[in-house]
Symmetry: C2
Subunit: 200 residues, 2 copies
C-alpha cells in the first residue's frame, strides 16, 4: 500500500487519532515550545488553528491535561526511537553510535517538542509528573546499560551517563533550523563526542 513507508516508522502522534485533538496538540507544542507553558494562553493555541478558545475544552479537560498529553507522547516517542535505533545491532560501539545519533537528531528535529518535555516538567501536576518520571527513568536506564560497555571505570558510569544524555538534550535549547547543522550531521558529530567522553 502507498502509505506503508510513512507509517512504518512510528508516527510521533500515532497515539492521537487525526482530528481536532491532534491538531490542538500540535499547535500547543509550537506555542508551548516557543513561549513556555504559562506564557501561552488558550487563545494563542486556538487562534493558530482558527478555532475558539472554548474548542480546546471539548477535546481536553484542561490546559494542564493538554500539556500532560504532549509530555507523554514526546517522552514515549524519544524512548521508542532510541530502542529501535539499536535493534539488531550486536556490537556495543555501534549500538552507542546509533543510539546517540538518533537521540540527538530527535532533539534537533523536534526541538520545540523537546523543549516542552525537558523544560516544562515543573509545570506538570504532581500525578502527571509521576507518570512522566517513570518513562524518563526507563530512557536513562536504557542509556546507562548501553554506555556501560564503553566505560571502564564503573564508578564513573552514572555521571558519564548524565553528561552524555545532557549534551544531546541541551540541543533543544539552542537549535535553530536552517542556521544550526542538519540533524543527521549533528547526530553523527555528537555520537563521536560521546564515544570520546565515555572512553576518556
Amino acid at each position: 500500500m502507498e502509505t506503508s513507508e510513512t507509517t512504518a516508522i512510528s508516527d510521533l502522534w500515532e497515539m492521537l487519532q487525526q482530528g481536532p485533538r491532534r491538531t490542538l496538540a500540535q499547535a500547543a507544542v509550537d506555542e508551548f515550545g516557543k513561549r513556555g507553558f504559562h506564557a501561552t494562553t488558550t487563545r494563542h493555541i486556538a487562534e493558530r488553528i482558527g478555532m475558539s478558545p472554548a474548542a480546546l475544552y471539548i477535546h481536553y479537560p484542561s490546559k494542564a491535561d493538554l500539556l500532560f498529553t504532549i509530555a507523554k507522547i514526546g517522552h514515549e516517542a524519544v524512548l521508542n526511537e532510541s530502542l529501535a535505533a539499536v535493534e539488531g545491532i550486536s556490537d556495543h560501539h555501534e549500538r552507542v553510535l546509533s543510539f546517540v545519533r538518533t537521540f540527538t537528531a530527535w532533539h534537533a528535529v523536534n526541538h520545540l517538542l523537546a523543549r516542552v518535555i525537558q523544560y516544562e516538567l515543573h509545570s506538570l501536576q504532581p500525578d502527571h509528573l509521576k507518570e512522566i518520571a517513570a518513562i524518563r527513568r526507563r530512557t536513562a536506564d536504557f542509556a546507562a546499560e548501553e554506555f556501560r560497555h564503553l566505560v571502564s571505570d564503573t564508578s564513573k558510569l552514572r555521571m558519564r551517563t548524565v553528561a552524555c544524555l545532557s549534551l544531546s538534550i541541551d540541543v533543544a535549547r539552542w537549535y535553530v533550523p536552517g542556521k544550526s547543522p542538519a540533524p543527521e550531521e549533528l547526530g553523527a558529530e555528537y555520537a563521536q563526542l560521546v564515544i570520546a567522553m565515555l572512553r576518556s
Copy 2:
C-alpha cells in the same frame, strides 16, 4: 581588614547595594528558578521576604525589569568568573581546564540563577534581550578563543564550542544540591570530558 577575604572574590550581587532591592532580586531568583518567570507572581516573591506585592514597585518599575536586572547580573557574573579563571595561566591546556571547571561549577552552585538566565531569555523584552545577547556573545567568543588552541580541525571549532558550553550549561537543568556531585568535583570531571571532546 576582616572582610577582605569575602569581598576579594567578586560578589554576585555587587551591582546591587544591600537592601530591599537586592533582597527582592535574590527572592525572585529562587522563585523564577523553581517555577519559571510567568508562573511566578509578584505575590510569591513578596511573601517569601515578608513584604507586600506593592513593595516590589518601589524598587523596580515592573516585574519584567526585575527579570532583566537578574539576567544582567547573572550573565556578567559568569563571564567575569570565566575571565578570572584563566588569568595568569599561560598553558592552553591548563587555561581550558580552569575555565571549564569554573564555568561548570558556577552553573551547579548557582543553578537556580542559571536556569533563569539560560531558560528565560524568551521572557525578556526585545530591548532587554538585545543587551543580554551582547554579553552572551562575549562569553561564547571567549570560550571559542580558548578552545581554538586544542581543536586541530578548525572547521569543527564552532560546533565543538557550542557542544562544550552546552554540556556545562545543561547542569542547571538537572542539578540537585545534596544529591548531585559537589560543584568542584563536577567541574573537574567535566573539564576532563571537554578536553576529550576537543582533542577527539
